[in-house]
């Protein structure tokens, strides 16, 4: 059920008033890889190279129509610097999905992906859907991390993988649509499981937190 790179997005990033599903999505990754820029592109369709470094936690909301269903996404933008972990880790636990971002022009940010995976696993467990996302494809000349390496790492850890550019807008809504599809599949799986069991352990989806 892992949606690979290049999956054709049939979803559209339109707004919808009455969402059928609500997911909490957490953005993690090193400082300056472009988490806030990605969210600005997704939610406001703007790009500024001067966005201030996130201190603590920020928050955006986005609704998407995917496969004729309406999804509301709560997008949690966490500070990238390591020492904010103690502040942000409480939000890891409540995430339905995680976008783990690195900067394709920075080897450091890519080698830290493993560290971030361990944080996610520690706090959220194995069940959480993770999208590995290489940002800044617009800076092709400065690329230090080949696409194939990202793909390989994603395969190894069974993550969904894409590359994008918050600066150009490349693959921004595609990335979210792919993640939403995966989250929907996971949700359906959980529901089915729950129906099989006589007394279902109610997992409240998308409750306030």
């Amino acid at each position: 059920t892992v949606v690979g790179a290049g999956a054709a997005p049939r979803g559209s990033p339109e707004a919808c008033l009455d969402p059928d599903h609500l997911y909490n999505v957490l953005f993690v990754g090193d400082s300056d890889v472009g988490k806030t820029s990605f969210l600005h592109r997704l939610c406001l369709n703007t790009f500024s190279p001067h966005l201030a470094a996130t201190v603590g936690m920020d928050y955006q909301v986005k609704t998407l129509v995917v496969d004729n269903k309406c999804f509301a996404l709560r997008l949690w933008d966490s500070a990238g610097q390591e020492r904010y972990r103690s502040v942000t880790k409480q939000f890891f636990r409540k995430a339905d999905g995680v976008v783990l971002m690195y900067d394709i022009t920075s080897e450091y940010s890519f080698s830290d992906v493993r560290y971030w995976l361990s944080c996610i696993q520690e706090a959220a467990g194995d069940g959480v859907a993770v999208l590995l996302l290489g940002n800044k494809t617009d800076r092709a000349a400065e690329r230090r991390v080949p696409t194939s390496e990202g793909e390989l790492l994603a395969k190894e850890h069974q993550l969904m993988f894409l590359e994008c550019s918050a600066a150009s807008g490349h693959n921004i809504s595609e990335a979210m649509v792919s993640l939403v599809r995966l989250l929907k599949v996971r949700e359906d799986e959980l529901k089915n499981k729950a129906e099989e069991v006589p007394k279902p352990p109610q997992k409240k989806k998308g409750c306030c937190w």
Binding site: H50, L51, A52, V55, G56, M57, R83, V87, C208
Partner: protein, 290 residues
């Protein structure tokens, strides 16, 4: 923007000059008067000097002559240099001092932040220190700004920027319990919406409102902050919360969690206006003991 009449400004300048020239005497005998004058706003021409006197960074520098230059010529640890460099162009990018990559403002910012990682290697660099240092550099040279930053990190906001960020989380809880007294309505609403203080106060407190308030208000808040300390930061936070979420009327339009967060992110300019804000901060009924 509040315009101070020129005549008043000149009077204030001469009063401040007198204070700065007889600082120890004033600190010992007329501290109340200093506080009052900080509340009225320090004249812009003397602000940088006054902050150094108030914070004690002037004395600190004099006790550590040459220390900054010593740190300045050291290379620094690569892991800190990397993060600092990534932040240089992201601090007040529209201020003329910091607008150009590799310009003087960004260079000095780098020197100050790097020096701090060498001064306190166990603490290193925390991203919220950059806006603080940038505001200081707008008012004083790099060496002075460095010692002022040291005072803020060690005396004013101890532990805010250290490894585990424990102090800021604790102060988030304290802010929230003070809110219970100051504005039960706002407290109840935030509790009901399960909005953790960390979500709105981290940037407020760690950056001492430098990225939140309009510029003229930032300066007035910092004038009081340097004189009275962290309680000013608490008071500002409480005033903002009270006037944003403190009545059922105000809550009508932000009933959900998201709407509330939005409201706290896009605060009303009216409540951030310097005269209003400073007055409210001074009059807020919170005592030191609480």
């Amino acid at each position: 923007l509040e315009e101070v009449p020129l005549e008043v400004l000149r009077q204030r300048e001469s009063k401040w000059l007198d204070m700065l020239n007889n600082w120890d005497k004033w600190m010992a005998k007329k501290h109340k008067k200093i506080r009052l004058r900080c509340q009225k706003g320090i004249p812009p021409s003397l602000r940088g000097r006054a902050w150094q006197y108030l914070s004690g960074s002037k004395v600190k520098l004099e006790q550590n002559m040459g220390k900054f230059d010593e740190l300045d010529v050291l290379p620094g640890e690569p892991k800190w240099l990397d993060v600092i460099e990534r932040d240089l162009h992201r601090q007040f990018p529209f201020h003329e001092m910091f607008v150009s990559r590799g310009g003087h403002g960004q260079q000095d910012l780098f020197r100050v932040l790097k020096a701090y990682t060498l001064y306190r290697p166990e603490e290193g660099y925390c991203q919220a220190q950059a806006p603080i240092a940038a505001v200081l550099l707008m008012h004083m040279p790099a060496e002075q700004a460095f010692w002022c930053l040291v005072q803020i990190c060690e005396k004013y906001l101890p532990g805010y920027y250290s490894e585990k960020l424990e102090a800021i989380q604790l102060d988030g809880q304290i802010l929230f319990s003070l809110l219970h007294k100051v504005s039960p309505v706002a407290y109840k609403h935030l509790s009901k919406q399960k909005i953790d203080p960390i979500l709105y106060m981290t940037e407020w407190f760690m950056c001492a409102f430098s990225r939140t308030l309009p510029w003229s208000s930032v300066l007035r808040v910092w004038d009081m902050f340097f004189c009275e300390g962290v309680k000013i930061i608490f008071r500002v936070g409480l005033v903002l919360l009270k006037h944003t979420l403190g009545s059922s009327d105000k809550l009508k339009s932000c009933q959900g969690q998201y709407e509330t967060m939005e409201r706290l992110r896009a605060l009303s300019p009216k409540i951030m206006q310097e005269t209003f804000l400073v007055q409210e901060v001074i009059e807020l009924p919170v005592t030191e003991r609480q």
